[in-house]
Structures are given as structure tokens and as C-alpha cells.
Chain length 259, copies 2
């Protein structure tokens, strides 16, 4: 049973793309077949996996806005790493919300990727830092969602909006959408602010039992690996970033999909 | 002559809100009258200035979407700090793009604030992490724009899109929009990635002479001050964050508006 996981948090810069790219790489290192779907017009996940789409490849923009649903297999491109594939994004995706405003089933366009799902163990979806139609489409398609939460005040405050949006999605479009968990990112145990937000997460009844034991520590190697167009687990296996994302992958596999 | 400065970078989490809030506070400490306009539906600048709007106060949502332009003075609320006022944002602003899709002059709705401008020396506008209609409105209203650039690869790569958008705005809507400058943020001289991006910025012909000498260093006190709902220059005057933002304010005043 393929696990389709949306990685989302409306707050910008909290580690959504870093989590999608590095978690996908860590899962592929453990032998799973993984598909990354980039639904951010800024196409950072596409860039981070070093795979600018070829002329022939379709992107999430085409999949979502084409009049007639294209063959989704044409949107999949390989990456340099075994077991890790990508549906790339495109800057034109930033216009999709207005382009689809009068279209039928505009919230469910990403379900056009469903025929691909059976070929993978995990599908991870990267989202933009807004709760727009793109993120709604991702939530309509995914079976679960993972929240990276930077251990800083604005990122924690953004969780209210996110959970409200998810409640609406469950009522109207996708009742089965479940929370995979919350993963603390940019964690720096030396600072008061990181500890304060970590305590808030641990004490928050909405997430009880769902905050991952693994926290992703603040680690410059994660940023550096993006400079080299390589996930940190491949760029420097011995770094704290690589260790944390491998531990997160193990924990996600161990805890399994929530019933 | 009032300086109206948009603070923008499509990449999420690069320090847009922190720059608007802390630069505004530093300018007010130097005796200038400053208005912060929050045009991000996530209303982080409104939250950071501790000023949730009262029942009576209008927000940028009302200013932009009301059928008939309201009196903009009703959108201004004081903050706890002398010389620092705010036009607050509202989560409903996330629907403005679709709401305005068929409206006349939808790109120029923020110009409804123009009657306020003469009462201030500086107007600083916070933007969301997208290049949507909200950011277009901000660019149509502002006289200059300031780019916070996190010294990390994705934030630098996002500058291409931003400059393309500005070129379009200049051609179609606001030919006088000039670049105030680029300020490096989250700068950590100990890491290779920070130095690598800093070198790219310094060598980039598009910004020659426009990269501020002041870099905002990585400093946990900036994040901590957000936890306390106070700009860092008030929260802890002796911190590196307070020093950097006061130096940036001095540099912006010294260099003056570009002709
Ligand atoms: N644990 C970490 N330690 C240090 N740097 C990190 C860490 N995780 C991510 N980064 C860096 O911080 C920046 C923001 O992360 P990232 O781009 O993954 O966030 P995002 O939520 O996807 O942002 P956006 O909202 O723009 O999509 C990137 O430059 C990334 O390389
Ligand atoms: N120089 C700095 N050092 C350490 N932390 C910082 C610094 N500047 C900002 N921060 C923190 O980093 C996070 C991101 O900054 P901020 O929210 O200002 O970015 P933004 O560009 O406005 O994000 P968004 O794209 O979501 O609007 C915040 O939690 C903020 O407190
Ligand atoms: Mg991202
Ligand atoms: Mg912001």
C-alpha cells in the first residue's frame, strides 16, 4: 500500500523542501521506491534533485491545467539516484489558481497522477508557502500529511491555519487525510527560543503522540548540500543533517501509516 | 519626501517580516515617523508588533477589496512604540487574488493608502512569499524595493524571478520603482554556504553598488524577540540583531532614495 504524504506548512522557510528532498533520499537509501512531486511554482525540490525537466517531460503545471488529462507517466523523470524519481514543477504553476478558477473539479486536478502511485512505496509532495489551490490539490490527493515546524514562534503560530484548512479538506474533499506527524526543524538546543517552541509542541493536545522523536537540528551542511544539488544524505553521510533525516525515515517507516 | 519601501523576496523564510519590523523600529528610534503596512495574509508583521486590530480598525483586506475606497485613516492603528504605526493584515487577504480577478484596476488597489503617506517619513510594506496579485499591488504602490536575501542557495536563486517581475511592473504599472538595495540575512561567516552566497551577491552585476555593507547576522535573539511580540531593537538593545538593524537603518538613511 503506497503511502502518499503531503509535506506542508504555510509559513515560509520552515524546511518543507529540505524535508521532502532529504526524506525521499533517506527512504530510497533504505531500499524503498520513492516519487517526489513538486507542487511549488518556485521548483526548489526540482532544483535540489538536480533534474530540470527535459523538453519532452511534462510538469505538475501541465498535469493540473491541461484540458484533457495527459498520460501521467510522461511527467515522471529519473534522478541520479536509484529508486528516486521526480514529477518536476514549473514557474507557470504560479498562474494555475487563476487559470483554474472556473474549471470543473479544480481542487482534484492532482488526482490525475493516481495511475502512477502503484509503482512506488512512498510519494512525497512539496508545497508552496501558501494555503492556495495548489496546496488544496495536494491535500485532496494525499493520504497523509507531515508538518515540518521550525522551532520558532511564527512557524508554530501558522499551525492553526493549517489545521483549519485540513479540517475543511476532510469535510469537503478527502475524509481519509490523516496526520503523519509533526517534525521539529532548525532545532538548536542551545537557544531559549528553540526550547520554548519545542515545549509548546510537546504540550499541544492537537499533536499528542504525533510529534516525532527525531528533531532535525540546525545544520549548515543541509543548506550547503542544496548548493551542490544533492540531498544531504548523499552529499555528506556523516553530517548531523544526514543522520537526522535517516532517523526520521526510520521512524516514519516504523510508525507506519495511521489507520 | 516620504520613502515608500516594499520588502520582498518570493522565497519563504528569508527575513522579510523580521526586516520590516526591526528596520521600522530602528528608524523610529532615530526619530523618524514610520508606517508598517502588512500585506501578508499570515499577518506575521501585525503579530510581531503586538497589534491585533481592534473591531473598528480596517485591515489591508478591507482597503483592497471594498467596493468603494474606504477612508484609509481608519486602517491605521498605533503600536506601543512612539512614531511607529501599522496598517494590519487579515487572513481573509489570502482570498483577495480570486476576489479581485474581474475587478477594475485590481493591481492598483493599495494606492488607496496614498492619502496617508504625507504623515510619515517611511512606509515599509511586508509581502507574502509569492509573486501574486498582493505583491504586484505592493510594487505598484511603492517607490522603492528592498530585497532581504538569506545567504543560502534557494534564496539567491529566487532573485531571478523577482527581478523579472519588477521589470514587468516597471513597464506596465510603475516606471519609477527603484532598487533600494539587497541586504544579506542569516549571515554566518563561519559557514562555507553563507560565504559562497555572499560572494555571489557581491559579484552579481545586477546588484553592483546596491548590496548593503550591513549584513544581518544569524542571531537567535531576533527569533526570540518575535516570541515576546517586540522588535529586537526594543527587546534587547545590546544584541547583534539590534546592532545590525540599527546599522541598516543608518545606511538606508545615509544612502538616501536612489534618483
Ligand atoms: N535543519 C536545517 N539547518 C540549517 N539550514 C536548513 C535546515 N533545513 C533547511 N535549511 C535551509 O534553510 C532554507 C529554508 O529551507 P527550505 O527551503 O527547505 O524551506 P521551505 O519551507 O521549503 O521554504 P519555502 O517556504 O520557501 O518553500 C534553505 O536554504 C535550506 O537549505
Ligand atoms: N538574522 C536572523 N537570525 C536568526 N533568526 C532569524 C533572523 N531573521 C529572522 N529570523 C527568524 O527566522 C524566521 C523567518 O524569518 P521571517 O519570518 O522574518 O521571514 P519571512 O521572509 O518574512 O518569512 P515568510 O516568507 O514566511 O513571510 C522567523 O522565525 C524569524 O524570527
Ligand atoms: Mg520549499
Ligand atoms: Mg513574512
Amino acid at each position: 500500500q503506497t503511502r502518499i504524504i503531503a509535506v506542508a506548512n504555510e509559513k515560509g522557510g520552515v524546511g518543507k523542501t529540505s524535508t521532502v528532498v532529504n526524506l525521499a533520499a533517506a527512504l530510497s537509501l533504505s531500499g524503498f521506491r520513492v516519487l517526489v512531486v513538486d507542487v511549488d511554482p518556485q521548483y526548489n525540490a526540482t532544483r535540489a534533485l538536480g533534474s530540470p525537466a527535459g523538453e519532452e517531460t511534462l510538469t505538475t503545471y501541465h498535469v493540473m491545467t491541461a484540458q484533457k488529462a495527459p498520460d501521467p507517466a510522461r511527467a515522471v523523470c529519473p534522478t541520479r539516484w536509484e529508486g528516486l524519481s521526480l514529477v518536476p514543477s514549473h514557474p507557470d504553476l504560479s498562474g494555475a489558481e487563476v487559470e483554474l478558477v472556473n474549471k470543473l473539479a479544480r481542487e482534484k486536478r492532482l488526482r490525475r497522477l493516481e495511475p502512477l502511485v502503484k509503482d512506488y512505496d512512498f510519494v512525497l509532495l512539496d508545497t508552496p508557502p501558501t494555503l492556495s489551490l495548489l496546496t488544496v490539490n495536494v491535500f485532496a490527493f494525499a493520504g497523509e500529511f507531515l508538518i515540518p515546524c521550525q522551532t520558532q514562534p511564527h512557524a508554530y503560530a501558522a499551525l492553526d491555519d493549517l489545521l483549519d484548512t485540513v479540517d475543511l479538506i476532510r469535510e469537503e474533499i478527502n475524509p481519509g487525510l490523516t496526520l503523519t506527524g509533526v517534525v521539529a526543524t532548525f532545532y538548536d538546543p542551545r537557544t531559549r527560543v528553540s526550547k520554548a517552541v519545542m515545549e509548546k509542541l510537546a504540550a499541544d493536545g492537537r499533536f499528542s503522540g504525533k510529534v516525532f522523536e527525531t528533531a532535525i537540528r540546525m545544520n549548515a551542511t543541509i543548506a550547503e548540500s542544496a548548493l551542490h544539488g544533492e540531498p544531504v544524505v548523499f552529499f555528506r553521510q556523516g553530517s548531523p543533517g544526514a543522520a537526522d533525516y535517516r532517523a526520521l525515515a526510520d521512524e516514519i517507516v516504523r510508525r507506519g501509516a495511521r489507520p
